[in-house]
């Protein structure tokens, strides 16, 4: 009898084309998602006289460099050139491209699942570190660099060294006001920004199983902020119900075959992971970051930590530097930190569940600082409008914008000014991430909406939400 296997092991094994030395394998790639930031790889491919091996497994959209203000897709000729180049390359190679003006266009990690491209049991890559988002469906999905993008375009494969496995189990019911973003921030705070390096994570436990697909994607999305290239969740009825009927999902006679395969994917009882981590849902509170690494996360009820209490000199120095950059003093209650603007969006938190959660807080209140809501795709924008969420946001004084990466990436012209403090639902609070000198506090959509209506970091539970 063979040993019980993890889901990761099953997917990995099914995709090995050839074994190489030193634990390397040539892995077959079922889906390759592309965006305008990866056009350099197309250029190199063209110059080497090579063509895209499997255009039918490659899909493209524009998200990173587009402006999200209505009517003006790009800010300058340089970025316009990148978007146009993507259009030319994909047309030339026969790749389906969700272009500017197409309502299906949106953030690459939002539209893959939305179109039914992201399904269990597949390997999926994209030239973007947040590709683990797709692991929420029980896929092996990970971010790659530009050279690897070119390699996949040319060969539909990648040489990979098999990572170790880590299971993070979260058990119990989340308290009122606590959601998926708080869960993943708590996980990163626990294992550290480098805790998942060289690991593929599987998120498990009753808390995770109880989440919607939108919530599961929020969790998997930030795996890279814990150092892990891939994060995944076992597919179940919630997963299958989400996928069925999506435009590019398996249909007809393919559906029952896919379903049979997917149901056999979850890790088997007794499967051994290289590392196990446990969290109790009851210990997780609404969480915000205070520093310049996603691991710098604490409950909103806590105070800014004191570097003097840290014994390790490297950690003390890093914390001192982070607090100086953030303009915060040790001991200050986090709920006293004033913010200058609010950003609700990004591949972490721009899906319909996220917008609903923010709208519940915004309803009947007024923002006191500039606040943006940027839906993840044109279709999410439409769906939100059909529910009247746009009216809730507009009535409360939020800006209701077009789909894109916007203020998460700091490369499209939508940035905060130096010294400005942003309550943000994005994934990175790095120095300069949202603009040179900008200060980012990461939090959930409900918490960001709470900050928008109070002008400071606020425990959303105090607003009765």
């Amino acid at each position: 009898m063979s040993a019980p296997r993890t889901m990761f092991e099953k997917i990995w094994t099914r995709h090995v084309v050839a074994e190489g030395p030193g634990g390397h394998a040539l892995l077959y790639i079922d889906r390759h998602l592309l965006h305008e930031g990866t056009t350099a790889a197309f250029g190199r491919l063209a110059r080497s006289g090579r063509r895209v091996r499997r255009p039918d497994l490659s899909f493209a959209t524009a998200d990173h460099y587009l402006l999200t203000s209505p009517g003006t897709p790009t800010s300058d000729a340089e970025t316009r050139g990148m978007v146009e180049a993507l259009g030319r390359y994909t047309a030339d190679q026969g790749i389906l491209y969700f272009d500017v003006g197409d309502p299906r266009r949106g953030i690459v990690h939002i539209i893959g699942p939305e179109q039914g491209l992201t399904v269990p049991g597949i390997t999926l890559v994209c030239g973007d570190s947040h590709t683990a988002t797709h692991g929420a469906f029980g896929a092996l999905a990970f971010g790659i660099g530009s050279s690897e993008v070119e390699h996949v375009l040319a060969t539909q494969t990648l040489w990979q060294k098999k990572p170790q496995t880590m299971r993070i189990s979260v058990e119990g019911r989340l308290a009122q006001g606590v959601n998926a973003k708080d869960v993943i921030l708590a996980i990163i705070a626990k294992i550290g920004a480098g805790g998942g390096v060289r690991h593929a994570i599987e998120y498990a436990g009753s808390t995770i199983r109880g989440m919607s697909m939108d919530e599961r994607m929020t969790v998997c999305n930030m795996s890279i902020e814990a150092g892990a290239r891939a994060g995944m969740i076992a597919p179940d009825e919630t997963t299958f119900a989400y996928i069925q009927g999506r435009p590019l999902a398996p249909a007809g006679e393919a559906w029952p075959k896919a379903l049979a395969h997917w149901k056999a994917l979850p890790s088997e009882p007794g499967a051994v992971f290289d590392r196990e981590v446990q969290l109790a849902a009851s210990e997780i509170a609404p969480t915000v970051t205070w520093g310049t690494s996603p691991q710098d996360a604490l409950p909103i009820t806590a105070r800014v930590p004191d570097p003097a209490a840290i014994t390790d000199p490297g950690r003390r120095e890093s914390m001192t530097r982070a607090l100086a950059y953030m303009g915060l003093n040790p001991g200050m209650p986090l709920s006293d930190v004033m913010v200058n603007r609010v950003f609700i969006g990004s591949c972490t938190n721009s899906r319909l569940d996220d917008l609903r959660a923010a709208a519940r807080v915004a309803k009947g209140r007024r923002v006191v600082v500039p606040a943006w809501v940027v839906p993840g795709s044109g279709l999410i924008k439409r769906a939100a409008e059909a529910e009247g969420l746009d009216r809730v946001f507009l009535d409360a004084g939020f800006e209701w914008r077009e789909a894109g990466c916007s203020m998460c990436v700091g490369m499209n012209g939508e940035t905060a000014a130096a010294g400005e403090r942003v309550a943000s639902t994005s994934n990175r609070n790095f120095e300069g991430r949202q603009g040179k000198g900008a200060r980012t506090h990461l939090m959930s959509p409900a918490m960001a909406a709470a900050a928008a209506v109070t002008g400071k970091l606020t425990d959303v539970r105090t607003l009765g939400a």
Partner: protein, 209 residues
């Protein structure tokens, strides 16, 4: 790709933990072609230069003995965050050939191999010792030897490191990885045929069909 065999060069100690690739090269420079004349200046740009573009003297790369550095000696989780390969390109544009740390961001780690930079993982105490020596003797050199898989510290101590046989061979020969993989064409074709038989549902339907 430029092969890597053995490099002896000044080491640049970077003590900060979790140095992310946004810090290595800010996002607004990612649109730039790596052949533009000023490309090398984008490395650590926002901590290396002030608002007027002048060097910040307190930043280590702006201090004379370290200007010749070609080996980074970092701390935990250097190169975390964004997948931007430009973080490696901009290190290479400044002459860097190797990054030594106790751990590296996974995607950065992989990107190094594709550009002739050798990522070296050593135990935390060994890396801290190297950084200490480089601070105490600015401009001190170390040697990274891929064939023998050793780092020789300024004080002469040798540290052996592990490197995957596959990556070692690729770096020593400077071989084009895509070219190598295209040599597996028959294996890929064979795999695709089996995949199409057993897991046909992995190919999405074409829109409108």
């Amino acid at each position: 790709m430029e092969p890597f065999t053995r490099v002896t060069a000044v080491g640049l100690p970077i003590d900060l933990l979790n140095v992310d690739t946004d810090r290595v090269i800010p996002a607004r420079f990612l649109r730039k072609d790596r052949n533009v004349p000023d490309y090398a200046r984008y490395l650590f740009h926002d901590v290396r230069f002030d608002a007027a573009g002048a060097e910040r003297p307190e930043f280590i790369l702006n201090q004379t003995p370290y200007r010749a550095a070609r080996i980074v000696v970092a701390a935990e989780n250097f190169g975390c965050g964004s997948s931007r390969e430009a973080a490696v390109w901009v290190l290479a544009a400044n002459g860097f050939r190797s990054v030594i740390a106790q751990s590296l961001g996974d995607i950065f780690h992989q990107n190094c191999f594709k550009n002739g930079l050798l990522p070296v993982i050593l135990p935390a105490e060994a890396v801290a010792g190297l950084r200490r020596q480089l601070h105490e003797r600015p401009g001190a050199t170390l040697t990274v030897d891929l064939e023998t898989q050793t780092v020789t510290a300024p004080d002469g101590a040798q540290h052996r490191f592990e490197v995957d046989a596959f990556r070692k061979e690729m770096l020593l020969t400077g071989r084009d990885e895509i070219g190598l993989t295209l040599g597996f064409e028959s294996k890929i074709v064979e795999f695709e045929a089996r995949h199409a038989r057993e897991m046909a549902w992995t190919v999405p339907p074409r829109p409108g069909t």
